[in-house]
């Protein structure tokens, strides 16, 4: 008991777990414990020796924590560097890791129709993985909404200090007017050309989200609120994720039962090719863009749209 209280008054947290475990035992009733806390506080205030003792212990635990942390860090780096010294040579072909990769490259164009092998990999061979990834993004948005959203009526609203109203700044507004269309166009280009050139849903969606962030910072939230209400954002995310799940589920079903896949692959290199990869890129891009804009809106003012 005494030890636990002592731990409470340490600001240092190290070494507290043992006291926590002893605290679980219900051997002391609450009342006794409460009064003991008060007595202990009073004695602490009046007793300088005890304070010194606590400080000494705090120092000791702090030193112990540091030593253990340093040792674990150095040990970790040493073990990993030892492992690296035994890896295959950097910059040369690793025969063991080459089987899957060469399969993807050699058969990728034929099987998926996508020129960009990375896009073919993440949206065709490993599409299920990417679906989970999109759901991770959606879940993160939901968690952030739960943690940060405060309605207009909420009394506990934690409003940021109005340091600087960005939309009132002339330079930012004018620059935003020129920048936003360019970045928006670049993002759309990257999403639509995901199967032909580097990029795709994830990178293009982030760029779209960044352009929306610049738009709302330069023109104020009133502009973006007209497009991105809370409801519409939810509907867009839901539609994108639903489309992804349904289309990929259809393809999995068809493939697993050995039926003919009716989705045409098109001519490699054309914009309308690669089967489902282009629509899936658009879906992923929408999810990512909505998530990024939602993060910004939640962190900036604690709500998305008007809700």
């Amino acid at each position: 008991m005494k030890e636990f209280l002592r731990a409470c008054f340490r600001k240092d947290s190290s070494g507290m777990e043992e006291f926590l475990n002893t605290e679980e035992k219900p051997d002391v009733s609450r009342q006794i414990r409460k009064s003991a806390v008060r007595k202990w506080q009073e004695s602490l205030l009046s007793n300088p020796e005890m304070q010194k003792e606590i400080q000494r212990r705090q120092q000791r635990y702090h030193v112990l924590y540091r030593i253990i942390a340093v040792i674990s860090c150095i040990l970790f780096i040493a073990v990993m560097l030892y492992m690296i010294a035994h890896l295959p040579l950097y910059g040369f072909k690793n025969p063991r890791a080459d089987v899957v990769a060469s399969r993807y490259i050699e058969k990728g164009l034929e099987e998926t129709g996508a020129v960009n092998v990375v896009a073919a990999m993440i949206l065709d061979y490993r599409a299920f993985d990417t679906l989970g990834e999109s759901f991770v993004l959606f879940t993160a948005l939901v968690c952030t909404t739960i943690l940060l959203r405060f309605g207009a009526k909420d009394k506990n609203r934690f409003v940021a200090e109005p340091v600087f109203d960005t939309s009132s700044d002339t330079i930012l507004r004018v620059i935003g007017l020129f920048l936003v269309p360019c970045i928006l166009l670049f993002g759309i280009y990257i999403i639509l050309n995901g199967h032909l050139s580097p990029g795709g849903g994830f990178s293009g969606g982030t760029i779209l989200g960044a352009s929306l962030i610049i738009l709302s910072a330069s023109a104020g939230f009133t502009t973006t609120d007209r497009i991105f209400t809370y409801k519409r954002l939810n509907i867009m995310t839901f539609a994108a994720l639903g489309f992804y799940s349904l289309s990929k589920g259809f393809v999995f079903f068809v493939g697993a039962n050995g039926m003919h896949n009716p989705i045409p692959k098109g001519i490699p290199g054309a914009i309308l090719s690669a089967g489902l990869i282009l629509p899936l890129n658009i879906a992923v891009g929408l999810v990512v863009a909505c998530t990024m804009y939602g993060f910004y809106s939640l962190f900036e003012r604690g709500m998305i749209g008007h809700a």
């Binding site: 934690f158 200090e161 990029g199 994830f202």
Partner: protein, 114 residues
């Protein structure tokens, strides 16, 4: 050793410098800006490693969105969080007892607006 390889080694050294520099700064804002530089250098390294997909994503995510989120968090926490303890002691008119017994609860909520 080609010129490109030397350039890559310089970038890798810069990466380590940035990662250490985050720990050496006293305030939070420079630390975040150094992290932003770290992400940008990482994007360049990835173009050198022939992964343009990653470079585009990292430039947009690491240097863009993540840093913006950090900045917004700092803005949301207000000026009190940005203050470093050494500055607080030097600043005139601050009450040293205000920080010593921060009882959790709404009564002792510190003013975020300053």
């Amino acid at each position: 050793m080609t010129l490109l390889e030397i350039f890559k080694i310089i970038l890798l050294v810069l990466l380590i410098v940035c990662a250490v520099g985050v720990n050496l700064t006293k305030r939070l804002l420079p630390a975040i800006i150094i992290f932003m530089a770290y992400s940008t250098i990482m994007a360049v390294v990835w173009t050198l490693l022939e992964s343009p997909d990653l470079a585009v994503t990292e430039a947009a995510v690491g240097a863009g969105i993540t840093s913006i989120l950090f900045f917004l968090t700092l803005r949301r926490l207000g000026r009190e969080a940005l203050k470093d303890p050494a500055d607080e002691e030097d600043a005139p008119g601050t009450d040293p007892t205000a920080d010593s017994d921060p009882v959790p609860g709404s009564e002792h909520r510190r003013e975020v607006r300053s």
